[in-house]
Structures are given as C-alpha cells and as structure tokens.
Amino acid sequence: MTDPDIGSLETEMNRGFLHILALALLEKDMYGYAMVKHIEGLGYKVEENTLYPLLRRLEKNGWITSKWDMTEDRPRKFYAITAEGRALRGSLLEVWKNQNRILDEITKENSNV
C-alpha cells in the first residue's frame, strides 16, 4: 500500500494551527517576512501568500494591529497582538491542548489493544 496523499488534509489542519501560531508569535512586534523566517527556523514551512491574508483577517477582527515603520531603508509593516487577541489565543490554546490530550489518550488506548 502506498503512503496516502495528505496534502489537502494537511492544508485544512494548518488553517487552524496558523491562527494560533501567528497569535503566539506576535507577543513581540514582528513584520511579515521576519515571521516567515522565524517559523522556518523552527522547522515549519508556511506559505508566504497565506500568511498575509491571515494577518489581514486577524486585524479585521481586532485581534492584532499593524503599523508601517518607515525609518529603515525599506518600509516594513509591523504587527502586534491586542488584548482581545491575547484572550483569543488563550482560548484557542486551551482547545488545542484538549485536542492533544484526547489524541494522546486514544493513542495510548490503541497501543494497549
């Protein structure tokens, strides 16, 4: 049996994960490209053209803010998490931890069968 193609399923899983990831990263103000590099440095690849629309949606909902910095050679747009964003991040992390716990327990149950 060949390995199943998880491409589209992985994309679906990533959608939720990217929200938490972006909110977690923005505890410190960052610009888009720095976020991509940081995530890559942690061993995870994020599609560049996916990150910016996601940041825009987060900003539209008031979970992050953005500000252009024109002091450097090139203008950079810095993003920062808001109080509402922190609250959301906390709730999402709770959900994620609970999901992880459930999966761990089921995996343990399966290994005992």
């Binding site: 490209y33 560049e48 053209n49 910016y52 629309p53 825009r56 090139r74 950079r76 747009k77």
Partner: protein, 320 residues
C-alpha cells in the same frame, strides 16, 4: 525598482480590482518580496526579485487568498436554482401556449411581456425564455447568498418528486424487455399507418370497411395530417429503439422536442374545409375546439415531461 515586481503587483492589482484595501495589500507584498530579495547572498538583483516572486506564487492565486470564499450561490440554495427555474419556465410555457391559442399579446408588468406568437415562433421563443428564467433565478439567489441571511426558501410539497434523482427501481432486464415490447408494438402501429398511407394517402377513415374505406378528411388535409401523425409515431418508435441501446435521458428530451414541433405543425394546419364527411360540418366548431384542446393538452403533457427530463438531467450534472 524591478520592472518585474511592478508588473507582478499590477497583475495582482487587476485581480483585486474593487477592493478598498488594494493598495495596502500591494504594499505588503512589495515589502515582503524586497525583504526576501535583499536577503540572499550577493547584491540585490533582478534575478533575486524574480526568485522571490516565484516563491510568493502566481498573481491570480495570491489575489484569491485575499478574496472572500463566499460562493455566488450558497450550497444550501443550489438546488433551488433548478427548482425555481422549473416553476418559472412552466409558467412561461403556459403563458406561451396561452398567447398562441388566444392569439393575443399581454403584459404582466414588470415580469412578463408576451407578444402574440405563432406556433413556430413560440417553439423558437421557449429556449430563450428558459435562459431568461435561469438568469432571473440566479440573480435572486445571488442576492440572497450575498445578504448572508438564513432565508428559508419555500418549495411546494407536490413538486418534491419533480427534482429527485431516484435510482431506477426496475431491474435492468425487466426494463429492457418492457422497452422492447413497447418498441415492437409501436413499430407495428407505425408500419400499419405507413401501409394505409401508401395505399389510401390517408390514415383517417370514417368506417373500417377495408374494401371501400371512406376517408374522414379531404384528400389534401388527410395527406398532410397523416404525414405529421406518422412522423409522431415514428419519433416514439425511434425513441424506444434508442432506449434499448442507451438509458440517457437525452433520448427523451430529443423525442419531446420533436413531438412538440410536430404538434405545433398540426396546430398550424387550417381547420376549414377539413372534413370529407358532410354531416360533420354541422358540428364543425365543436370539433375544431375539441381537436385544438386535445392537441394543446398533449403538448402540455409533453412539455411537463420535457421540463422534468431537463431538471433531472441538470440535477445529475450537479450531483456528478
């Protein structure tokens, strides 16, 4: 600054036309690509910009990520596209028949203007009417979808069967045998009609005395009417024979359309000086009405069958 980058941003801008934050989005992308191009080894080059553009992805794909995923018609309303188009087209067809029979034009402002139509014009008009109905329903469902409200669209219970795609209930061979028997019977009737027509130039008789049959209609009218009826019989026979080879509903659709055209031809035939039998002339007005009514009733039944077949075909395409 790289021309390639400006061309790329211009292309994205084209796909984002109408978005208020378009310039902001383009600035974000420009900033990202310049950061990435400047980061590589060596100097800031056009090649590095091109590489960064390639990594960011094709312009249309990038633009689509910024656009809402809201569909033109919400999945919950998709089935209503065919349901409502069917109802509207049925109403349109009825009004068309009405306009043909009563030879009048009328207006149901602002929805319908029905000009005075002949039978052939009506048959030409109906496909256009179908497309117009489909367009109207699409626009309404589009606005409902874009409103984002949970609108419960009504649909009468009696019409539920009309658009259900049911699996065939009869077994394959039973269905084929029934079709084959039907085809043989229709073939016999068509052959018999052809035999009568070849021998007497008509298939309509007053009596059944084969040695001296008396034609019902005058020779010219009898010949024309007989040819049309034989063509209708042949159409049904051919449809049944085709169904032995394929179960495609297209066979029924084609058969329905040809039958409607032939009924249209029948309705166009002048009813004056029709009968060869004198006694019939006295009750001619009633007979004329009876013939027209019967033909229109048959046309209505065929039209309903045609619409049903078209809806089922459409639903199968959607389900595929």
């Amino acid at each position: 600054m790289s021309d390639k980058l400006e061309a790329y941003l211009e292309e994205i801008s084209h796909f984002l036309s109408g978005r208020a934050e378009r310039e902001e989005i383009l600035s974000e992308i420009r900033s990202h690509i310049l950061e990435k191009a400047a980061e590589g080894p060596g100097e800031f080059t056009d090649a590095a910009v091109e590489k960064a553009i390639a990594a960011f992805g094709p312009a249309r794909k990038v633009a689509e990520k910024y656009l809402d995923d809201r569909p033109i018609i919400a999945p919950a309303y998709k089935r209503y596209l065919f349901r409502y188009t069917t109802l509207l087209f049925a109403l349109h067809s009825f009004l068309t028949v009405f306009a043909v029979v009563f030879k009048k034009d009328f207006i149901l402002f602002p929805l319908v203007f029905m000009p005075r139509l002949g039978v052939i014009e009506a048959l030409m008009y109906l496909p256009t009417a179908f497309l117009a109905d489909l367009g109207i329903v699409t626009v309404v469902l589009y606005f409902i979808t874009q409103s984002g409200k949970d609108v419960k669209l009504p649909w009468p219970k009696f019409a539920v069967d009309l658009d259900e795609v049911k699996p065939p209930t009869k077994s394959f061979w039973l269905s084929r045998i029934a079709t084959a028997v039907g085809a043989v019977i229709m073939l016999a009737i068509t052959d018999f009609a052809l035999f009568l027509f070849a021998k007497h130039h008509t298939i309509f008789f007053v009596n059944l005395n084969w040695n001296d049959p008396r034609p019902l209609f005058t020779p010219d009218a009898g010949r024309r009417l007989s040819m049309i009826v034989i063509a209708m019989l042949a159409t049904s026979t051919m449809a049944l024979l085709a169904k032995l080879l394929t179960r495609s509903l297209l066979v029924d659709v084609v058969s329905n359309v040809i039958s409607l055209a032939l009924i249209g031809l029948l309705l166009r035939q002048p009813l004056d000086n029709l009968f060869a039998v004198e006694s019939a002339e006295r009750i001619l007005p009633k007979i004329k009405f009876g013939i027209k009514f019967t033909l229109l009733f048959i046309a209505l039944m065929i039209t309903i069958d045609l619409i049903k077949n078209l809806v089922v075909l459409g639903r199968r395409k959607l389900a595929a």
